[in-house]
């Protein structure tokens, strides 16, 4: 027991009783000393016995391989797509406009090949919240689970269980650890996205000045990969005038992204440009800049959807931004799930499958299928796109 002072003395001790703090504390001390000794001794004994066991450290237990989960059995590229396949999309979070577009396109694609699809998911983009949904989808015996992972490792265990039950796993948008899925549909090569965003911004600010990044959650796999390539691109001599002063995280939350933008502009008055590689972040940042004194002074670019950004392109807050076509991403993921479930592919490098209107696709290294280069949207072409 921890005691800082002697027992509290009642504020108004009854007059009849005598209070002798000295005697009191001596008594409690006598009682306490052995007890404390016992506690220390037992804690020490525990620690010793544990240390004596040797112990499991990171180095002694590095048993996890890093190879993609290549399916067993042989791929038969000419196998027909099975009818009545049941697949489910598990986005990072529901009610995220971008994820909704991707998933709806995937659900529509499933109708094309005679399957049924649905979207389920958590309302917050935390690491653990997707796990319950994976279990549910396993219980519901889906043919394939398509997941945009919030944390590449937290979802691993349940996804492996799913694969052990012959459920195919397709990661899209944000990858899981490679051994926890059959294929990953990469929206665009990460390198291309990272580098092209720096270029897009440099063109607008003349390659000079302080810049900042407004990202999603700090752990988001895809954003972090892009940022890595952005930082690498910035090392090139042609960008030597640009200085990345801060990476802020808006957690893919509209309000938080809005506040982070406000904070960035106040903390760095010389800021010339912001890159927001997330659709939630760029829309919130544009809204803030649009209503602030920084409009026209700070350049914003990044990844956004045309519907969200149309207003800001038209009023000049934002000149250009980019994105792959999310509909095609969902469409391709849906077809990949069908191809896996029908045995056309197993997830090995070099296997090919037909993805409806997108034509034939080949699985690359690490079980990745790349969608294609991103599209740049500006005042000239934005009205051709509606998503």
């Amino acid at each position: 027991m921890i005691r800082l002072r002697p027992l509290p003395r009642p504020k108004n001790p009854p007059q009849s009783t005598t209070w002798n703090p000295e005697r009191h504390s001596v008594m409690t001390l006598r009682l306490r000393a052995p007890r404390r000794l016992v506690a220390v001794a037992s804690a020490g004994a525990l620690a010793l016995s544990l240390a004596a066991c040797g112990g499991t450290t990171k180095d002694s237990s590095s048993d996890s391989g890093n190879k993609a989960a290549a399916g067993d059995g042989k791929a038969d590229p000419n196998a027909p797509l099975k009818k009545g396949l049941k697949i489910a999309f598990l986005p990072k979070q529901v009610n995220n406009p971008y994820e909704t577009i991707v998933d709806n396109a995937g659900i529509a694609a499933a109708k094309e090949y005679g399957g049924s699809a649905k979207e389920v998911g958590p309302s917050d983009a935390s690491a653990s919240s997707q796990v319950s949904y994976i279990n549910t989808l396993i219980q519901q015996r889906h043919d394939a689970i398509l997941i945009a992972a919030n944390d590449q490792n937290a979802v691993c265990g349940p996804l492996k269980q799913a694969m052990a039950k012959k459920i195919k796993v397709v990661a899209y948008d944000s990858d899981t650890a490679p051994e926890c899925r059959n294929v990953f549909i990469n929206q665009a090569s990460s390198e291309e996205i990272g580098r092209s965003e720096v270029k897009l911004l440099a063109d607008q600010i003349g390659g000079k000045g302080d810049i900042a990044i407004l990202s999603a959650t700090a752990n988001a796999t895809n954003q972090n990969t892009w940022i890595k390539y952005m930082q690498d691109e910035l090392k090139k001599p042609e960008y030597s005038g640009m200085k990345l002063v801060k990476i802020a995280y808006g957690d893919d939350d509209d309000q938080k992204s809005f506040q982070q933008t406000q904070g960035l502009l106040q903390a760095y008055p010389n800021l010339k440009g912001i890159i927001s590689p997330t659709t939630v972040g760029i829309a919130a940042a544009a809204r803030y800049i649009d209503g602030s004194k920084y409009k026209g002074k700070v350049t914003l670019t990044g990844l956004g959807t045309p519907d969200q950004m149309r207003k800001f392109i038209k009023d000049g807050t934002v000149k250009s931004f980019e994105l792959w076509d999310p509909k095609n991403l969902g469409y391709l993921a849906s077809y990949a799930a069908a191809a896996l479930s029908s045995g056309q592919i197993t997830g090995k490098q070099g296997e090919t499958f037909k993805a409806g209107k997108l034509g034939e696709r080949t699985i690359g290294a690490n079980g990745e299928v790349i969608l294609g280069p991103p599209t740049v949207f500006d005042a000239k072409n934005i009205d051709q796109y509606h998503f």
């Binding site: 027991m1 921890i2 005691r3 800082l4 002072r5 027992l7 509290p8 009642p10 804690a43 525990l46 620690a47 544990l50 240390a51 066991c53 040797g54 112990g55 499991t56 450290t57 990171k58 180095d59 002694s60 237990s61 590095s62 048993d63 996890s64 529901v94 649905k118 389920v120 998911g121 958590p122 309302s123 917050d124 935390s126 690491a127 653990s128 796990v131 319950s132 949904y133 279990n135 549910t136 396993i138 219980q139 519901q140 015996r141 944390d151 590449q152 490792n153 937290a154 691993c156 265990g157 650890a177 959650t217 700090a218 752990n219 995280y249």
Partner: protein, 342 residues
């Protein structure tokens, strides 16, 4: 002061509480039976074991939380302690330390977190709600200091299996088995010992308890320390269960725990309730969530259902009290004992 529900002097009001816990248990049975009949994927070993495992941290933390609320306190920092301990587990593991050494270290950190809460509440006399709102932010901040925005994974399978697998042949994951043991101990302490009676006494009338010779501050301090210890342990369980140590682990978990405690019939003002009700409420929340998810009910509706349950649980006893009082007045009889009870 006595806590034995049957021999309590506040006969009527405690009889009512007893019925509330029975109601929660009945609802649990209905949800289970309904789920089993309604959804073929519900009552199988795999799903039940998962649904229970998903409750591990909530169930563990609910035990000390029950004791705290019974004595009129609350600890809102538990989820942040969980996050801090998870982050620390990851950091030390990544630094090459043996997991067997990490666990005791992390538990000590949990104890220290609880001790800080307890000292602020007992030594400075601050309200626990205010103190733990503060430390909730503080500990979460420390978690980010420890691990930043990294996510550490690749924990040893021997330990992650312990956190995720079930006792062979039973749908009971190991953390839940441990919870069962701790629940029995907590129930004995709360309902069959002098310490438990003291907690109820503190919760009903702190000054009276103090003058009755109960060491109010010491008991509170111990409870906060135990709360920190259990939250720290839950942090280790969380980390191993998901195989991922992150600073934002368990964000918002404290609200689910408190919801379960209130739904279980513990009076937020302290002094009333039983652990049985809380255990039933924890299981009810978990099974209901699982069942709704299996039936493709959207997350929004899930939140609405949990929220409504909570409001009903807080409202019903008060409504019954009001109705009783009105009845008593109409009869023109003496005041009803329940209305007179503090």
């Amino acid at each position: 002061m006595t806590t034995d529900t049957k021999s309590a002097p506040r006969g009527l009001s405690l009889g009512r509480l007893l019925r509330w816990e029975t109601a929660v248990t009945a609802l649990l049975v209905i949800v289970f039976a309904g789920g089993a009949g309604f959804s073929p994927d519900f009552a199988n070993t795999d799903n039940l074991s998962f649904a229970l495992g998903d409750l591990s941290e909530i169930a563990l933390i609910a035990l000390p939380m029950t004791l705290l609320v019974v004595c009129g306190q609350v600890d809102l920092s538990v989820a942040s302690v969980l996050g801090l301990c998870s982050a620390l587990t990851g950091k030390l593991w990544d630094g090459g330390m043996a997991i067997e050494t990490i666990i005791p270290i992390v538990l000590v950190v949990g104890v220290v977190c609880g001790l800080v809460n307890g000292l602020l509440v007992t030594r400075l006399g601050l309200p626990s709600l205010a103190v733990t709102i503060g430390t909730m932010t503080l500990y979460r901040g420390l978690a980010y200091v420890v691990l930043g925005t990294e996510a550490i994974s690749e924990f040893p399978t021997r330990y992650t299996n312990l956190a995720t697998e079930s006792i062979p042949g039973m749908p009971i994951p190991y953390p839940i088995a441990l919870f069962a043991v701790l629940a029995i101990i907590t129930a004995v302490v709360l309902h069959a010992t002098g310490v438990g009676r003291s907690l109820f006494a503190i919760g009903s009338q702190e000054d009276a308890a103090y003058f009755a010779g109960i060491r109010v501050k010491r008991l509170k301090l111990v409870l906060f320390v135990v709360s920190g210890l259990v939250a720290g342990f839950a942090g280790i369980v969380f980390t191993l269960r998901y195989g991922s140590a992150r600073a934002d682990n368990g964000l918002g978990l404290e609200l689910t725990v408190i919801a379960a405690v209130l739904l279980g019939g513990i009076d937020f003002d302290g002094g009333k309730g039983t652990l049985g009700g809380v255990i039933a409420a924890v299981l009810l929340i978990g099974l209901l969530r699982n069942l709704l998810m299996l039936n493709d009910v959207s997350t929004e509706v899930q939140s609405i259902v949990t929220g409504l349950l909570l409001i009903i649980s807080v409202l019903t006893p008060r409504l019954i009290a009001v109705v009783r009082e009105a009845q008593g007045r109409r009869r023109g009889a003496r005041p009803v004992p329940s209305a007179a009870a503090p």
